[in-house]
């Protein structure tokens, strides 16, 4: 059963990994945010893509959730010696990924083709598709003015409040054809527990993707989202603060509100069971379950529950 999941970084990677565990090989397609991408030391760096790919390849650092297990930082030390910016620290193995990606992009290959080639080399069974081959760059307005996303996220440790978000290049971008094809073939579409504002909405901002999801729903394909907010707090990253500073409620309900018209069902954590009626009042079906993905088994459990929930909607 072809399942498509929209994902950002760590949270998205975990659910994607759970889905990979419970689906037959090849049934999972991930559409990944590229709004966080950046050029660093002349290299094309794709934090969300690489987090998902390393996780699905079983190579991710199990503690921090991003980067590679057993990573070393010898090159980073030398880059610092050369006076290169050090706020975004690249591991040695990770650096190889960026080097190979960059040389292929410079040779004129499409971003999607490059990503699929790297994924195949790491043994992935299903594709992790950049939402677009075109550059889309998330920028956030803070009291210090407009900042590149990673400038805010990594360099400033998400300290400033976000007043406004924009996705430079999104309206001019074209969805990767593989993305539209995957959404057209999907029997279930899942929005991962990623930051709705800066992980999921950049994907939706690319013309054609939201429409392809609507078309899928009209064909009866269930679209379900998993809340990245549990007990009013983001499991990782600044989603809770961003929701608040951008006028949403910092809760699963706040996230659900942003997804009205896009999804049929919404998965919230047991901690938030009291929010169930309010989410339902938005016109969404609700699944209350343990959404904490602390280990591989928990990832598989959440994936299985989400797929069952989606299936129950289709047959409804």
């Amino acid at each position: 059963m072809p399942v498509v999941v929209l994902a950002g970084g760590v949270g998205g990677a975990k659910l994607a990994h759970g889905l990979q565990q419970v689906l037959p090989p090849g049934d999972l397609t991930v559409i990944v945010n590229v709004g966080d991408d950046l050029e660093l030391h002349g290299l094309a760096v794709m934090p969300d893509h690489d987090t998902v790919v390393y996780t699905l390849a079983g190579l991710a650092d199990p503690v921090q959730g991003w980067g590679l297990a057993g990573e070393t930082y010898a090159a980073a030390g030398m880059l610092a010696r050369y006076g290169q910016p050090t706020w975004f620290r690249l591991g040695d193995q990770d650096l190889a990924t960026h080097v190979v990606r960059t040389v292929r992009l410079r040779a004129g290959e499409r971003l999607t083709t490059v990503c699929l080639t790297l994924q195949a080399a790491l043994g992935l069974a299903g594709p992790v598709l950049p939402m677009s081959d075109d550059p889309v760059r998330t920028r956030v307005r803070t009291d210090e003015g407009w900042l590149d996303f990673q400038d805010y996220f990594v360099r400033l440790h998400q300290a400033p409040e976000v007043r406004e978000v924009r996705f430079d290049g999104a309206t001019a971008a074209t969805a990767a054809p593989e993305v539209i094809t995957a959404l057209g073939a999907a029997e279930v579409i899942v929005i991962a527990p990623s930051n709705p504002i800066v992980s999921i909405e950049p994907i939706l901002a690319v013309p054609g993707i939201r429409a392809a999801m609507q078309a899928a729903r009209q064909r009866g394909v269930p679209v379900v989202a998993v809340s990245p907010i549990v007990g009013g707090r983001a499991l990782k990253g600044p989603a809770d603060r961003m929701l608040r500073s951008l006028g949403s409620e910092a809760s699963a309900l706040g996230v659900a509100t942003r997804y009205v018209g896009l999804v049929d069902g919404f998965v919230i954590d047991e901690t938030d069971h009291a929010l169930g009626p309010s989410v339902a009042a938005l016109g969404l079906r609700v699944l209350v379950t343990d959404t904490i993905m602390a280990d591989d088994a928990a990832r598989a459990r959440v994936a299985r529950a989400t797929l069952r929930f989606a299936a129950s909607q289709r047959t409804a």
Copy 2:
């Protein structure tokens, strides 16, 4: 006293390091071969330049003579995983050098400027100048046809016999202005114990460099060379076999013969003292001394002996 040394990789780096030890800071200028350079994984790799720079910076691996002390190879393992060619293995710290160099070159900086910037970051007191900002690529003809130099040198471990050598791009290249200025200001010029055929002759093949050396000699500047062949064998690399297959004698005398008209004096090892009269018969003054540079003190000793030898010629 401004001293200019022409150098290839390991042997040249050792003598340059000796000269750096015995000269006041800033008096040493190295003109380095770039004919061995290559592009690897989209990165600009400069083996001879980096060997000299790492050595002068005190960072070189003391055992192998090239690369960095304490180097690790995590990125190389990942590059292999991605199916990248592995015959030229880049260390993690070394990779950082190539990344920084490449991003600066792509930004349009001159090769010389880029190199000087990297050297300054590593604390070098005197410049290591690429012979030209233009690409010059040494190629060797073997029974397998024409090969890129590193293809022959690293990938094939110098196994094939070299039948012919050429320096692609040399005649169209322009000597870096800093090179001509340094030769114009030199009070001593030293040709390091590097492979004459593929380390020194590519430098001499760039229009203007040989003429600047002749002009210096006419001003009374002594030009001396140190033999890279001791007891009929190259201290490192395939210089002995190359000399033989290209019709020279594989000896200090064979090297001296190639430098007739270019140098006034020639330094040979004590092992080769019997060759002294034959070298003198070429019209060269001869210094017989212990040229083996096994440690830092030996490098300084050879440097001091070479400078004294050069000075004795000037006052003669």
